[in-house]
């Protein structure tokens, strides 16, 4: 019996080795916010070219850590690294799509877009200063609905997350109390609340818990039929999260390779700009030691060309064409394998 087992294992090893010749596989890990669109793109790309892109959503912090440890071919993060860190590690950072973070609530009788919140009020909720839904500060913003006297259950992320980074950066901008007490990062010390793993976990908790509030990337809110909130934008008008308001947030942004293509899209002035928007990034080594880097770039090049439809179907906003050109230029000039451009 041991002989048959040994033969069987050897057979799988050979099969695996030959399979390795047949299909090219790229591995990437990181942010959960863009995971729905990356996996959809990967599916379509495989059908077209046979190249397998295996993307695992382990959180932006995980993406940064694993690319620095060189255990994956590329990392993905909604939290942009400062240009100093990028240069120190020899990484290129480029955006793929624009995401919008939206607060979601679970209240009886409240549907998507039916509740209104502002930045300072959200900050107070997450600080634990506002504890019940019937609080006058929330009721004042929502004269048209009767808020129940439920206690507010705050849901946040338990893992290191670029979504958290964008959200806490926004709260830090609009609430000095938040900035002083908690600050902005991909993983913070939450004053109150329960932690969910990934955008998935937060969505699941909010769905299951009456009286809860959480923050998720918009695709998760839409796909899970969660009740998202309308937010007050920079000028005070209330905006709904959708592709148009995310696009409006990006209209004034100054994209440039010199800051790692990372302008802030938070709380932008202008009509109907969604206040909590940001780009999501890919991290790739400039000096490649294998053809994998070229494969990664080929994938994202295809995504730039043909992936916009899939992205908008999931409510992600594709980049403006001018930004795509800038990024392509960066690929050609900065990512090298064996001294030649990898792409």
């Amino acid at each position: 019996m041991s002989k048959t087992l040994a033969v069987a294992l050897a057979a799988t090893l050979i099969a695996g080795a030959t399979a390795a010749q047949a299909a090219v596989t790229i591995s990437g890990a990181g942010a959960t916010a863009p995971a729905p669109v990356y996996t959809k793109w990967a599916e379509a790309y495989k059908a077209k070219t046979g190249v397998q892109l295996n993307y695992q959503g382990i959180g932006s912090g995980g993406g940064i850590k694993q690319i620095e440890a060189k255990t994956v071919d590329f990392g993905a993060s909604d939290k942009n690294l400062p240009i100093g860190d990028l240069n120190a590690h020899g990484l290129l950072q480029f955006p793929t799509v624009i995401v919008g973070i939206t607060p979601v609530v679970n209240l009886p009788g409240v549907g998507p877009g039916q509740i209104r919140l502002t930045g300072p009020v959200l900050a107070d909720i997450y600080l634990g200063a506002i504890r019940r839904w019937a609080d006058p500060q929330i009721q004042k913003l929502n004269p048209q609905i009767r808020l129940p006297n439920l206690p507010i259950t705050v849901v946040h992320r338990s893992d290191g997350s670029g979504t958290t980074y964008l959200y806490t950066s926004y709260l830090s901008e609009v609430s000095p109390a938040w900035k002083g007490k908690v600050g902005a990062s991909d993983s913070v010390q939450w004053p109150t609340g329960q932690g969910g793993k990934g955008n998935d976990g937060v969505s699941a908790f909010v769905r299951q818990t009456p009286g809860s509030v959480g923050y998720v990337e918009y695709a998760y809110a839409k796909n899970n039929h969660l009740a998202f909130a309308d937010m007050a934008d920079h000028d005070g008008a209330f905006v709904s999260p959708d592709e148009n308001s995310f696009k409006a947030a990006a209209v004034h942004a100054a994209w440039s390779p010199s800051n790692g293509f990372a302008p802030s899209l938070l709380n932008q002035p202008g009509a109907d700009a969604w206040p909590i928007a940001g780009a999501t990034y890919i991290l790739l080594y400039k000096q490649q030691t294998s053809p994998m880097g070229g494969e990664v770039l080929r994938f994202f090049n295809w995504a730039y060309q043909d992936g916009d439809g899939l992205a908008t179907s999931l409510a992600y906003v594709p980049l403006p064409a001018s930004v795509k050109e800038m990024v392509r230029h960066a690929w050609m000039t900065e990512v090298k394998f064996d001294g030649k451009p990898a792409l």
């Binding site: 912090g61 940064i64 850590k65 338990s158 893992d159 600050g183 993983s187 913070v188 609340g193 818990t209």
Partner: protein
Amino acid sequence: MAELSATAPEPARPPKSQRPKGAAIDPLFKICCAASATLILSALTGVMITLALAGWPAFSKFGLSFFTSTEWNPVTDVYGGAGPIVGTLLTAAGALILALPLAFATAVFLTEFCPRSLRRPIGVAVELLAGIPSIVYGIWGLFVFAPLFAQWVEIPLMGWAPPGSIWEAVFSGIPNGSGLLTASIIVAMMILPFIAATLRELLLSVPARVRESAYGVGCTSLEVVWSVTLPYVRRGAIGAVMLGLGRALGETMAVTFVIGNSHDFPHGLFDGGSTIASTIANEFAEATSDMHVAALAALGLVLFLMTFIILTVARLLIGAQKNV
């Protein structure tokens, strides 16, 4: 005389072709076996050394405050592991308190009261319970148990508690069924079959004459078990309990699903918390700063030492019992 002085001829060593085949391999085989045993030793010491080396920076920077502070702040890179450590102890203790009487009662049922025909099926059923993987308990706990617990226990109690009273503070927490209490209950379900199976073996090892003599003088079943059988297997029973405790401390997946993931001390019965295992499972893949990784490894070392000590004592106790 020459023949006498001649020593008896040495028995001729059989020629190589006649020696048993493979005799030369004997020492090699012994070395292979010993090496395998040493491999086990090195795996365990390897785990400990890796955790100690990786976690050292956290211990040296935070010192004793690592064990007393609940501040787990990746922004400022300040880590205090009191939340997960206390959560681990609370969950394990809670699980033990819930599981111990039930396990003991189940073991006694199987040895004393159960009709003979049912003994094997029920015994098998108990051991099947022990074999169910942790992740299945986790998914069952999250999707089936937690909503039921919320609906029938948490929300009624939270709604009943008069505002401002002590009860409101006691029955506070997250109303969706997750939390430290739920985690304790699920872990209790997991360790119950372990303790019950071990206790049953121990109870079966009590010689029949000891029990029969107790019955013979007119003891009731309760008295036989409580005053005669149990003290007889006391050492092993304590060992079984500690074995269950050791397993409860290290439980990861079932706990991660239902514990609520908060680094604070719990303030109410239904509050969320975290354990060392759930913290590592949640945060390791993405801990970027070196100090964050060191803090997680330090927590891992604490868990390792806790389980190591408890399991060693448990095995020694059970071993001593079996040799009696």
